[in-house]
């Protein structure tokens, strides 16, 4: 299976996917930290992928999403944005509203984070 297939599969199966530099326990970039922080505060059930494991992950991801930078946040397979947008959505209350509408009004019961390898 190519990374592209694995990314697609992960996007289908994850409520909130965060492609980041490093992992939630060992964050390697300030912008990944910003996106992770906003998702944590919103109580999102986060599935994290470390793109630094292989440069091809990042290339295949950007080809799929049309988004050139890391981090990238997806809710139910749909690109929500990078760090700037996710923080902006948090400030305006839209992040929580998006999670509520896409994941249901009990979504925070699933809050937490796990890291998966592709």
């Amino acid at each position: 299976m190519t990374y592209s297939d694995k990314i697609q599969e992960l996007l289908q199966s994850s409520d909130v996917a965060l492609f980041m530099k490093g992992t939630p326990d060992a964050i390697m970039c300030g912008n990944s930290e910003r996106a992770l922080g906003a998702l944590r505060r919103a109580g999102a059930p986060i599935t994290a992928v470390d793109v630094l494991v292989d440069a091809e992950i990042r290339e295949d991801l950007s080809a799929i999403s049309g988004w050139p930078t890391i981090p990238q946040v997806f809710v139910k397979g749909e690109l929500v944005g990078g760090a700037d947008i996710v923080e902006e959505l948090e400030r305006s209350g839209e992040l929580e509203a998006t999670l509520l509408s896409k994941l249901g009004d009990q979504y925070w019961e699933q809050r937490g984070e796990k890291t998966v390898a592709l």
Partner: protein
């Protein structure tokens, strides 16, 4: 690089109400760009930011931008 980015954005958004480029660290590779343009009025945030990335494709591909913060706004 700051001047180059300013120039590219002004070229891509000639009708913009505001185009501002901030060198966040003084090191010439971490930037924040602020663009207010009516072209953004009916676009999602994702689409707005994609237009900025497209305008800065050249320095981006050359690796001259290490970090880019984007602040876009319509004029409505």
């Amino acid at each position: 690089m700051r001047e180059k980015i300013q120039e590219l954005l002004e070229g891509a958004f000639p009708q913009a109400e505001a185009v501002k480029v901030i060198d966040r660290t003084g090191g010439g590779d971490h930037f924040e760009v602020i663009v207010h343009d009516a072209a953004f009025n009916d676009l999602s945030r994702i689409e707005q930011h994609k237009l900025i990335y497209a305008a800065l494709d050249e320095p981006w591909k050359q690796g001259n931008i290490h970090e880019l913060r984007i602040n876009t706004k319509g004029t409505a």
